[in-house]
Every structure is written in C-alpha cells, then in structure tokens.
C-alpha cells in the first residue's frame, strides 16, 4: 500500500487571524428558500434540511418563504422588547460583576433571538432544561428580573440561597429547570422528563438546550438514543454560536458535518435554523413543539448563531478570536434585524426604538438597585451559613445536624 506517514488532522479555527473569512462552514441558504414540511413528516424525508438553513428575514429584513407569517406585529414587538431587555440585563449584570458585586457573569449577546423566540412557542406546564445562556427564556415571559438579579448577587432574596454560581437560575413556575454547571447532563434529563409526560399520558413538552461545544459530551448521545427509542415529546436544541470558550466549533465536529445532522443517525427529524432571525426561530420552534405535542416525537434543531461577547466575565477572547470573526459574520444582529423588519412593516421606528431601549435600561437599573438593596455577594445580608446544611436531603440527617453545630449553628 502506498503513501507516506500518517498525520494528525487538527482543525484550524475559522476565520483565522489575518485571513479572509470563509463562511462555507455555515452552510447558508437564501431567506425563504427552504421548504416547510408537514409536522408529521418522516425524518428520512427531510434529511436535506440538516444541510440547509431556514431563514425568513432576508438581507433587507423582509420576510420570505413558507416559514414566514406566523407572528403578529404585536408578537414581533414583544419579541423585540424581550431581546432588548435581555441585552440591557446582560449589560447591567456585567457591570455589577466588574464592580465586584458578584463573582461571575455570562452574557448571551448576539444570541437573544433564540431563547426569546423559542419561549412563546411553549405553554404553561412545559419545561425547559437550559444552559447558562438562555436567560431569554425567563425574560421573554416577563419573569421578574429582580428575582434573577438576586440570584446573581447571592443576596438574602436569592431563592437559591447563595448556593449556586451566578446565572445558574432555577424557576419551576416558569418552566425553567435548575441549571447545572456540568455540561450536557440536562439534555438527557429533558428526555426523561418528556418520557414521564408520555408515560403518564399527559400533554407537557420538554425543551432541552445545549451548546455546540457541549454536544461532544457523552450525555448528548444518551439523550438522542433515548429520544430515538421512546419518541417522547422533546425539542432538542443545539445552540451553535461557533465557540466553546476558546475552542471553535470545528473541534466539536463542525468541520465535518452540521450539528443538525447528528440527529440522522437516530432517525430524529432535524432542522437547521438561522438563530439570529427572530421570525425563523419562532416558526421552527412552533413546528417542533407542535410535533411534540401531537405525539409525533422529538425534533432536533441546530440554531446557527454567533457569540458576540466573551464566553464569560472570566474570559478574554482577544487571545484566540480573530477580529475578522466579528466583522465577517454574515447573519447580522438579531435585534437589528427584527427592528428593521418591524420598521419595514410600518410597525416600528428608530425613535420608538431609542425610547424603548431607554425605558428598559431604566427598568433594569431600578430593579438592579432594588436587588442590591437586598445585598450583594460582598455586602449586606445573605443567606445564613446554617442554610448550607438544608436541602442536601429532604430531612436533615444526624451527621449534618452535628456538622451544622460544629460550624456554630
């Protein structure tokens, strides 16, 4: 057999520092070009959709194609508001972290359309199993930001009692499962939750969330295997924001296939959607949730988007991310695109936009002050150290009672 020595292929991130951007990895389609199958379509009939990109808004922010038309102007305005509020919230919380009022923060800048557009497709009783970058799920349903802020600040009103890292919210009432710091574990739990709904003959749907980087984790596979076998009502969301801390999506396998295509090996229908297009997000989410609710089983959706901010407040992307990556990003900003679309429809204006932003900044600022009134990580009151021994078990066993005493309580 011929040939030289073997070599290890180590993917280079795209775009590289100083090189022109090549967006072939994004498998773009034109807005309006990708068909909208019936919800009871077989997975095998839509395999091509995993290599296409569902887009509604074109480069002129006009809606086109079979996935458009699902939202009223009111709904679009609510979506815009949710995205802007999420962005204002992120900005303020990042500032609090810089002021050392908390230890850590994670923004979802550039990705707001996904969670804000997805949430309205759900009903009360459904359950999200989110990662740390889906604060939009809460904000889009007007969950009180002050409640979220108290968690970020680990203060006395933090319902998580100061136990969790900032942004690891839990809000059962909002259909928002407790966030885990361990990547991917929630993905298979979502499948289990959906299985439970089906086992009990009920009607609730689960939504699982994961980043493209974390799809490499083993539990991603476990989730897809169980979803494939039992066909429970779950939407399997993969948020492909191109980065996992400093590591490009190519190192998660994105160089060789799309993340939507992962579903094919399990016979699960998959869509690939422009995640910066609020209309496309909402339409695709509704399609998948309808499938689930109608007992047609799971859907996997890859949301193609772009992390516009650092991974977290502990991160400095200048070391690993070429400036070209930001400038050459072809799918724009989700807020700008929806704003332009609404203006084009005559349902919005630059002036109203400026005003709304100011209102939201003010709302967030007021909430932030109120939250700080309940203390911050470093100042004011927080949950008593004695509470550390609660909730380890439902009832405190003797050894924990002893240890609490040892601590002086």
């Amino acid at each position: 057999m011929s040939g030289g020595p073997l070599t290890l292929h180590v993917p280079e991130p795209q775009p590289c520092f100083g090189k022109a951007a090549d967006s072939s990895r994004l498998h773009l389609s034109e807005a309006g070009q990708v068909r909208r199958p019936a919800v009871d379509v077989e997975a095998a009939e839509i395999r091509d959709l995993a290599y296409a990109l569902i887009r509604v808004l074109d480069d002129g922010a006009r809606a086109a194609g079979p996935w458009s038309g699902a939202c009223t102007i009111e709904q679009l305005r609510a979506g815009l508001r949710a995205m802007l509020k999420t962005r204002a919230y992120d900005t303020r919380m990042t500032m609090l972290q810089r002021q050392r009022k908390t230890s850590f923060y994670m923004q979802c800048t550039g990705e707001e359309a996904i969670s804000c557009g997805f949430q309205p497709a759900l009903q009360s009783g459904d359950m999200n199993f989110p990662t740390y970058r889906q604060q939009g799920l809460l904000i889009a349903q007007d969950w009180p930001v002050i409640d979220m802020m108290c968690q970020v600040l680990s203060n006395e009103k933090d319902r998580m009692k100061g136990r969790q890292l900032p942004v690891f919210y839990s809000a059962r009432g909002a259909g928002f499962f407790s966030i885990s710091g361990n990547l991917a574990t929630q993905y298979v739990q979502a499948v289990g939750w959906a299985m439970a709904s089906a086992m009990r003959g009920e009607r609730s749907v689960a939504a699982a969330w994961i980043g493209e980087g974390a799809t490499a984790e083993n539990d991603f596979h476990a989730a897809l295997v169980f979803a494939s076998v039992y066909r429970p009502p779950v939407v399997l969301n993969v948020v492909n924001n191109q980065w996992a801390i400093s590591t490009a999506q190519s190192v998660a396998g994105g160089e060789s296939a799309t993340f939507a295509a992962r579903a094919h090996g399990y016979g699960i229908p998959a869509l690939r959607v422009d995640g910066n297009d609020y209309l496309a997000v909402h339409a695709a989410a509704s399609w998948a949730v309808e499938r689930a609710r109608k007992n047609l089983g799971p859907t996997l959706i890859e949301w193609v988007t772009h992390r516009a901010a650092p991974h977290s407040t502990s991160d400095d992307p200048s070391k690993y991310r070429a400036p070209e990556d930001q400038t050459a990003w072809p799918l724009g900003d989700p807020v700008d695109r929806l704003k332009d679309h609404l203006i084009g429809l005559g349902g919005w204006s630059e002036a109203r936009h400026v005003q709304l932003k100011a209102e939201l900044d003010e709302e967030i600022s007021v909430a932030s002050k109120a939250a700080q009134g309940y203390g911050t990580l470093v100042e004011g009151s927080k949950c008593s150290p004695a509470s550390m021994f609660d909730d380890v078990y439902k009832l405190m066993p003797p050894h924990l009672r002893e240890q609490r005493q040892e601590l002086g309580f």
């Binding site: 839990s170 885990s180 298979v188 499948v191 539990d219 439902k394």
Partner: protein, 337 residues
Amino acid sequence: MPSLTMIEAIRDAMDVMMARDERVVTFGQDVGRFGGVFRCTDGLQRKYGSSRCFDTPISESGIVGVAVGMGAYGLRPVAEIQFADYMYPAYDQLVSEAARLRFRSAGEFSAPIVVRMPCGGGIFGAQTHSQSPEALFTHVAGLKTVIPSNPHDAKGLLIAAIEDDDPVMFLEPKRIYNGPFDGHHDRPIVPWSKHELSETPEGYYTVPIGKAVVRRQGSDVSILAYGTMVHVVEAACQSVGVDAEIIDLRSLVPLDVDTIVRSVTKTGRCLIVHEATRTSGFGAELSALIQERCFYHLEAPVVRVTGWDTPYPHAQEWDYFPSPDRVGRALTRLMGS
C-alpha cells in the same frame, strides 16, 4: 409469612409499590420483557404495562439521566444497573445531578430515584461482575446508600427507598440472591427457605433507612458488617467461639452511629468487615468515626478485614473474598490484643 428469596423479595417490593402508587416505574437493561438478568423484575411488565416497566438501551448514564428527569417531573423511578461494576458511566449523573439537584435548586426540584444494582463477588464474575462500590456513594453528599443482607430487609428497605424523597443507591449483594452465603464456598448451597429472615410479611411494610440492627448480642467485641459479610461474620464467630455483638448496618448513609457507639462503648473492641477494596473503603470511615467517638473505651485498635487493594480476580476469587477463616483469624488476634 411467606419465605422469599432476595430476588422474590425485591420483586415483591416493586410490585407492592407499583400497585399502590402509579408514579412508581422501573426500567433498565433487559428489565422489561425478560424481567432482568437476575429476574428481579420478572412479570412486572406483563402486570403494569410497558409504560411502567421497560427495557432500556445499554446506557447507564442515560438510564440514570432519564430517571432524574422523571423524578423531577414527579415520578418515582426505580432504575436497575445490571451490575454495580457498570455504574461508572452513570456516576456523573449520580454525583453531579441526582445528589445535588435539591440543594442547588433550593428544593424546587429533586430526584426521588432509586438505583438498584447487584454488587459483590463470590460468583466467579471477576473484576467486572464483583465490585462493591459503596464508598464511592458514601463520599457523595446528597446520596443515601443502603444494602440489605436478607429478604426481609431487602423488601422493607426497597419500599422505604422508593418512598424516600432523596436518591437512594440500593445495593444488592448478588451472592445472596438465592440463598444466604457464609463464605464456605465448598459446602452445599443453602436456600433462603432455611433462613428465618426469609420470612417476609405480605404487602406493604418498611425497614427504615438509617437504622442498623443488632443481629446478635454479645459482649466481647462489636462486629460491623453489611450485605453478604453479615453471614460470613456469623459463621466466623461461630467457629472461633467469641461472644461477638454483630451489627448489620443496612444503611451506610445515613449511618446509625448511635447503635455503633453504644455497642463499641460496651465491648471495647471493634472489627469491621467489607468486601470492597480496603483503601478508602467504607471501613475507613467507620474506623475513623469509632475512634473519634469511643476512643476512651477502646481496648485495642479497630480492625478492618476487607477485599484487597487489587481488582477482583477470577480464579483467585476465594483468596480475595474475605473468608470466615480470615475474619476468624482477625477476631482471634483482636481478642488477644
């Protein structure tokens, strides 16, 4: 009261609870149609349907992961891991998720799951069918760990575990599934029907989690054991002829420290026996606790008889397994010191 084997008692516990509570479901590899490779779920699918008892893919992480999700939903899943040796792929779901969900969500969500797994050696199963990983659970805050030594306790503890609101690791010493085993592998097999603790009340009852039981009162030495080793210890005491107080721990976390301390305070000597690897085994915790609490009553060092710090071998199984002989020798030495 009917005499049951461990397998029948475990099955009966699930049957009782599935009949009482619709939220109780059970699943695992080969658990559904076939009824489990050890037959512990035999008949449950036929009786309760395949939405409540079913086969799963070969994915321990998936099994525990979906159980956590179901538990959060409001079900009471009883998951089977085919052998305790195969729980490692699920360890992250157990440690990072099931154990901490209640804590991290301040009680909003919890994982009231039971994870059943056959453990221990003595069946020529070698390194991947013989392990006793209990110490890997006892180190994890948020998990409970129980291990019965007889059909009566197995049923009562399993019912208690299913009703428990916390995740319970339910270890089943497979060597005593079909009969009590005292380590004399060269003697004829004894069926459970010959043992009084196979008498098992019909229907619902519980054995509380967190309570040890004194199997034999005695004054010379306290012996702490659980699972198969309870029987080995009984045999060893008989042949050595010491007046030992034998405590069957049953529940490792929470641990019945009071019963232990009361006994050791009385006897002044303590022997701990387990099948798991010695270093950082649960015996270490027991030994540490006893010397912390009974120091001034101890007349001799607390002694551990355990599996060796090696993988469980196949052909040399009986040199690994803590035999009545090894326990007896340790006892004799302990009484002499």
